[in-house]
Amino acid sequence: MKALEFSRKPARYAAAMIAGALRPGAGASVGPLRLRDLDEPEAPADGWVTLRPRLAGICGSDLSTIDGHSSRYFEPIVSFPFVPGHEVVGDLDDGTRAVLVPVLHCEVRGITPPCPGCASGDVNRCERIAFGHLEPGLQSGFCESTGGGWSEVMVAHPAQLVPVPDELSDEAAVMVEPTACAVHAADAAVRALDALPDRDGPVVVIGAGTLGLLTIAAISDVLPDGTPIMTGGKYAHQKRLATELGATTVVSPDELNGAVRLATRSTKLAKDHSGSSRTGGQLTGGAPIVVDCVGSEASLAQALEVVAPGGTILVVGMPATVSLDLTGLWHREVALRGVYAYRREDFRAALQLVASKDLGRLVSATYPLSRYEDAIVHAADAGRRGAVKIAFDLRKTSERKP
């Protein structure tokens, strides 16, 4: 079968790191990712099934890996070589179309009794992601044993599969996994808001890429009508989509501090007495909840500037090693909380949200595996090129949409 394989090749990884720093996505050409003819993966245990991917999305975490930016934290929880791709809609042998729930938790790994996280249903908090009868891997797409979505065939545990209703297109279905992340983030935002003595104020979403837009859609779906949702979009299509999906204030990223300041009747601590909103600046007040869907040093720093004292920053975008001044976090008693992946039930809500908000429209372009370098560069440069989600199309040619 044809598959994109990511192998452990330190020299290539270093080359990808350099190339990726120069041009996002360039790590695909020089790094350890290669298109290969591989044997189909074998079922690691009884009950596993074959999943033939139809569409497989390219996620920010994939891009990080390809361009060599991933944290070394992942080293013990991935296994090489692996086939990337965890945003997958595919066909089962019985003809069912299914979406993959990629987290490789205790049940999938055949571990009994399950860890406390899995026992409580929080499979995203599984403590055994490097153990059991699978090689280490936090998700399919990062594990040698399972294969991944960027291939013609992979294997999956039945607990990892969610059937797709007939009326949902493949493009919509491939958005279900990232939407489940957004649903989980929205749930975390609601819980954080509920925990606050004063719920007034906007929810700020930093980032208007795929994850940011989906998070806006999910948050606007669960928060009471009238709750302001503010975001910063760099590009015109991001601003338009953010508005359509429920953001009430959409400005440029460098205007976000000013917008939050004005909305929250805050003032600013400016060293130079400048009133500039463009240059950011620490607000005295701010938003009770800030959802960072980027996870970069700059986005986290901005989150710390615009969050209210006693507020919460939810880190939804995957961060890496960053350097941050946490004095404000300490001084203003701000909570910084990670939000990773989802619980299984988040997929049910995600399926509904994808359908109700037509999130399949966020798939901007698809590529065959043979054009993986173009696909990766497009995904890494999606915003500037007016795109949101880029995916690999593994359907037979006759099935593809024109």
Binding site: V251, E255, G258, A259, L262, H273, S274, G275, S277, R278
Partner: protein, 535 residues
């Protein structure tokens, strides 16, 4: 004897016309046979002895007023207020006429034994003036005598203890002005009436007031009913200020108004004036000499090579060689009528009928970017506010016509001077450019603590100020069918709700969608300033 203004019908022999284009100049060839150019009157002669004229005016007041010397007495509280950095434009060469008047008033006050004197820059919700700017306006002698002891300062409309409510007009408009001024035995207001919008009761009722008063006339309804706001008798803006003036007068606030007019010698008319390298701009193009043309070409070539920042600094440092053409003092309304006669004499040009298109070149400066950046909102305000309203009778462009302006319109803001403009541009204009809709956002900006803080302690225009800029253009927006900006940043131009064009020919092509092919065109020549008297 200065020649009056004229209207030139453009034919095939008409040379290209100079347009301001921000910190550049452009020559444009207007279509022959259907274009006309309004040229201003030449600069009027200045007073022979300005200081003597000032002393004469103070002692020979107009209207129901006593000479200044008889109004001053020992033990009294005297407050001298003066127009701020927004006048004149560009700033005038030293000595500024405000300095001359203030020195004369102080001499008179000293002779009368007045020792409780304070001097206030009447800036309403404009930014505070810096020390250098204050020194330029009042002179070093006055500054050094008064500023260090806190007796020369900027008006602060947000000082909770610094404002006094005087009353309410018969239309329900609240009148509140600077408390020190209101509680003085006499306010001497020192004005520069560069254009006919300035002066009269607007000096005190606006210059010394704050948001609570200003909102009664700085709003869309008032500005849409001020046709134009350069014609005080047809201006609801001025009617409101005059009603407020009556409340001030009836409330016991005593004002001795000193108004001055300047000629329109912006760039120098004398060939011998070596400090005026742009003096050819004061001439009509067909009268340019070979030397004028060579100088113009050299200036253009030099400007092309200059970095934007250096160019801005060079233009902002220009001090105009205006001559003072009149000084009158005394009772506000009588003084102002005499002032307007002088303004109109210098600026008015008789014009017959309206055309389909109005063109104008916008300069590098407007009342709100002295020593600053002309941001897109100010471009709108200068073009659709000030320049469009430079008419009496009716606009020189027909209703539903097109306005074509030249200006680079950079997406650039001065972070210290215009913080609320940045947010207004991003958060309000991105939603709507309709002045009525824009007005709904006003209160949040006007009452924002951060903007208030910056207005009071930094050098920022008040939070509400960008709204006023937008309202200033609301009559034009209502009147026009389309606005095109030539040579502007397309993104910024679109944010303003206007159409960008790269050349005048493209702009006329865009205009043809609204006014049809081969439209008639009026070009308002600038520099210097003029006012069309359209019948």
């Amino acid at each position: 004897m200065p020649r009056p203004g004229l209207v030139l019908d453009v034919d095939s022999s008409t040379p290209p016309i100079v347009f301001h284009h921000g910190e550049d100049f452009v020559l444009e060839k207007l279509p022959a046979g259907r274009s006309r150019v309004i040229y201003p009157p030449e600069p009027h002669e200045g007073l022979e002895d300005t200081d003597a004229a000032i002393r004469h005016a103070l002692e020979h007041p107009l209207g129901d007023s006593q000479p200044l010397s008889t109004l001053l007495f020992s033990g009294m509280k005297l407050t001298i207020c003066f127009d701020d950095i927004s006048l004149p434009l560009p700033p005038m060469r030293k000595p500024d006429v405000r300095q001359r008047i203030i020195e004369a008033v102080l001499d008179t006050a000293a002779a009368a034994g007045v020792d409780d004197v304070e001097i206030i820059a009447a800036l309403a919700l404009h930014r505070r003036m810096t020390e250098d700017e204050l020194r330029h306006a009042v002179g070093d002698r006055v500054y050094d005598a008064f500023a260090p002891s806190g007796r020369l300062y900027n008006h602060d409309a947000e000082d909770p203890d610094g404002m006094l409510e005087i009353g309410t007009t018969d239309k329900g408009e609240l009148v509140e002005i600077n408390k020190r001024a209101a509680t003085s035995d006499l306010i001497v207001y020192v004005n520069i009436n560069l254009v006919s919008m300035d002066g009269g009761w607007k000096s005190t009722a606006t210059g010394l007031s704050g948001y609570r008063s200003l909102r009664h006339h700085h709003n869309v309804h008032t500005m849409q009913h001020s046709k134009s706001f350069m014609d005080r008798h047809a201006s609801e803006l001025h009617h409101s200020n005059w009603r407020m003036g009556k409340v001030l007068r009836d409330g016991g606030v005593k004002v001795f108004q000193v108004e001055t007019t300047l000629n329109n010698d912006t760039f120098g008319t004398s060939a011998l004036d070596t400090a005026s390298p742009l003096s050819m701009l004061q001439k009509r193009e067909w009268e340019w000499t070979a030397k004028d043309r060579a100088t113009f070409m050299a200036v253009q070539a030099g400007l092309k090579r200059m970095p934007a920042r250096a160019k801005r600094a060079a233009f902002q440092s220009w001090k105009a060689p205006y001559a003072v053409t009149s000084v009158q003092a005394g009772e506000v309304e009588a003084v102002h009528e005499r002032t307007l006669e002088q303004n109109f004499a210098q600026h008015l040009v008789p014009v017959e009928g309206q055309t389909d298109v109005l063109t104008m070149g916008l300069p590098y400066i407007c009342p709100y970017n002295v020593n600053s950046v002309m941001n897109p909102i100010l471009v709108m305000c200068l073009g659709l506010g000030y320049f469009f309203n430079m008419y009496r009778g009716k606009p020189p462009v027909r209703e539903g016509g097109v306005l074509i302006m030249r200006h680079p319109t950079p997406w650039e803001f001065h972070p210290v001077h215009h913080p609320s403009y940045i947010d207004f541009f991003e958060q309000v204009l991105s939603q709507t450019t309709d002045p009525v809709e824009v007005e709904k956002y006003e209160q949040a900006f006007a009452e924002d603590e951060w903007y208030r803080h910056l207005y009071r302690t930094s050098y920022a225009y008040h939070g509400v100020h960008p709204f006023y800029m937008w309202y200033w253009g609301s009559h034009a927006l209502q009147h026009l069918g389309k606005v095109v900006i030539v040579g502007g940043d397309p993104k910024a131009v679109r944010r303003l709700g206007f159409a960008p064009a790269s050349t005048m020919a493209d702009a006329l092509e865009i205009a043809s969608d609204v006014v049809g092919p081969a439209p008639t065109i009026t070009h308002v020549h600038n520099p210097p300033l003029l006012m069309a008297d359209v019948t």
